[in-house]
Amino acid sequence: MKYLLPLFVLLCWKSSLLLAQAELEKQIQTQLILAEDGAVIELPAGKIVLSNTLSLDAKRDIVIRGAGQDKTILSFKNQSQGAEGIKITNAQNIVLEHFTVEDSKGDLIKTQSVKGLVFRDITARWTGKPKASNGSYALYPVQCQTVRIERCTAIGASDAGIYVGQSDSVWVTECVAKNNVAGIEIENTTNAWVWKNQAFANTGGILVFDLPDLLKKRGGHVKVYDNLIGRNNYKNFAPKGNIVGKVPPGTGVMILATNDVEIYQNKIWENKTASTAIMSYYITENPIKDTAYNPYPSNIYIHDNIYSEGKRMPTWKSKLGFIFWWKFGKKVPHILYDGIQNPEWVDTNGRLKAAYRICIRQNENGTFANIRADKLGLFKGKISKNIGPYDCTL
């Protein structure tokens, strides 16, 4: 009996805390709904436990500001409503800064159709061991224009930590991505600069992808430079069916079917399977039915990167990794090209025409191989380590 009173007090205290949290959640959501254009919405310090997505729609010139990444923590651990932590839609000139958001059921921060967007000093993470039941994307701008992501940290995404999709004019800089399947992914996005970031211990460090069946058909004009891309050997924990589920553990940088991509001055080390891969969409072995889609990479320039020597066993947990092991043992070249070419882009000597070139030059320790796969994902051709045809500049 004597325990009942303390228990009762404890329960009351706990439920009053929950009540206070519910009230705070409602207050923040109401502020977001009623915000006048130009408003600054301050998120208080402390851990705020939320049950539903916080959303902002059709506003201009809004700042959502926390008290600091280690002070304002929005936790969606007990979320029962909504597929995102924070969702911002159909807006202009939005700044999100100085807070942490964690453990949402779906994406942590999704922004769609926003023109003028800044993520600054934000930590977006899933706590605990990385797992398939974590949400897909930590920071997820899609169909946005003029996006700046700076000094942000993304951890534990079961797809991509920083994922920019179907957007234009994007800067990603001074961010840290770790323990995600993909650290930073630029997908069907034009004019993206990714520099001075750190991608560590993901399955794949930095990915530049163009995928079929999307409204924005073509990405490109992407620069990836001055980044540190190391030890991205984490097991692939993406749920199957997702394209990043096909990325072999041990991938540093991967370009998939994108045009006009420049990768330079990066330090890329100890990524055990493919430090840098240039691939066509055929390598995914997914069917292509989108007739407007271009599955081949072109205008690719890989130069002045520094690769570490690293003698590591490529992963066996992917067909590609296994083939690399089979062909190269522990000495997988750092720069790998699948060699699948559009026959219309090739001249009479079998080389890519000037407009579609792939150039690889001046990479420290930048060993190379064209694995000469074919469209069926078979590897019948003889692997070529001759970098000669790719010794050019763009």
């Binding site: 109401t30 059921k105 949400g135 069946d213 749920p239």
Partner: protein, 350 residues
């Protein structure tokens, strides 16, 4: 339970206070009704409010393929200014004059087998057409069922009822906030009505009269010259027995296509589920997902013909986890009948 209500009352009052200051500024440039804090202030109804009897100028309507909303029953009404009409459109929502309102009441019978035992109305959603476009408002009914109060930030309330088969159901019903309303009611980022399309409204009323023809008779819609309900598009009522293909496509149209269309919030997915879509890839047939994440359930394609258990579409309909379920909003419970229909449709597909 009581504690819950006290809390909600307090929060509602708090929000009301904020809401009234936030919305006041807009009263000046608004045509028609203006925004009221209480449902009773609109005069949409005559007699006791809970009877939902339409006042003059307010017209009930039905749709062919309703959106599943956690088994809530719905009473739908359109309010038009005197003499004003809707403008017919063959394949999009009708257009409305400023001052029009679309009103949807969500309720549960206490016992679905015996409606005469009464009902509890949970919320009334009002779309107001103003000069600047549509405004979405949710009114939450009080326990006494005498009135409903505007709530912009949404709410959760426990609901219990007995299904027609005698099963007692209990869950936390969620009233959406205004942003969540637009999570579905969106065309290129603009707020639009969803349900009042000709293919949803082209149906036979209990008196066998066609609903659109009745609208014309009531003077609230002009149909195009030579309009023939029989040759005009309509969605099947998926709740009635009939052709699986037609029923499934009507279900997807009514429950998914408001987002899954090239101008909707799910345009990012490349999966489009309107009844007019013919391209198998757009429907999701052997289409890999784009950003489904764990919503893929380790399945490879949206739809695998003949194999419901390998289709992501079904996986997402069968789950209630907010990171997996589809639709994302407005559904806590699985729609068993809907899942069964889509399962059969995929199974019969070759």
């Amino acid at each position: 339970m009581t504690a819950h209500y006290k809390t909600f009352g307090l929060l509602a009052a708090l929000t009301l206070l904020q809401a009234s200051t936030g919305f006041k500024k807009q009263q000046g440039n608004m045509g028609g009704h203006g925004i009221n804090q209480r449902l009773s202030e609109y005069a949409f109804f005559t007699g006791p409010l809970a009877d939902l009897q339409p006042a003059p100028g307010v017209f009930p309507y039905e749709v062919n393929a309703p959106l599943f909303s956690d088994y809530a029953e719905k009473a739908r009404l359109i309010s038009l200014p005197p003499g004003a009409k809707m403008v017919y459109h063959p394949d999009a929502s009708f257009e409305y004059p400023v001052g029009a309102a679309i009103i949807k009441n969500f309720f549960y019978w206490h016992d679905a087998a015996h409606p005469e035992k009464g009902r509890r109305i949970i919320e009334t959603r009002v779309l107001l057409k103003e000069t600047k476009g549509w405004k979405a408002l949710a009114y939450i009914w009080n326990r006494e069922q005498t009135d409903a109060v505007l709530e912009v930030a949404g709410a959760t309330t426990p609901v219990t009822w007995q299904t027609a088969s005698g099963k007692k159901q209990e869950f936390a019903y969620t009233v959406p906030n205004v942003n969540q309303c637009k999570g579905c009611h969106s065309y290129d980022g603009q707020f639009i009505p969803i349900g009042t399309t000709s293919r949803q409204l082209n149906l036979s009323l209990p008196n066998h009269e066609n609903q659109l023809v009745a609208f014309q008779k009531w003077g609230i819609l002009d149909l195009p010259e030579g309009f023939d309900p029989a040759t005009s598009p309509y969605l099947s009522d998926y709740r009635k027995p009939g052709d699986t293909e037609r029923a499934a496509r009507a279900y997807l149209d009514g429950n998914c296509a408001h987002c899954h269309n090239p101008h909707g919030p799910a345009s990012t997915s490349g999966m489009f589920l309107g009844a007019e879509v013919q391209d198998p890839e757009q429907l999701g047939i052997r289409k890999p997902p784009v950003a489904a994440g764990r919503g893929s359930g380790n399945r490879k394609y949206g739809i695998v013909p003949g194999k419901p258990s390998e289709s992501i579409l079904l996986y997402r309909m069968e789950h209630n986890d907010p990171g997996i379920r589809m639709p994302e909003l407005g559904r806590q419970l699985m729609h068993e009948e809907g899942v069964e229909l889509i399962k059969n449709w995929i199974r019969e597909m070759n």
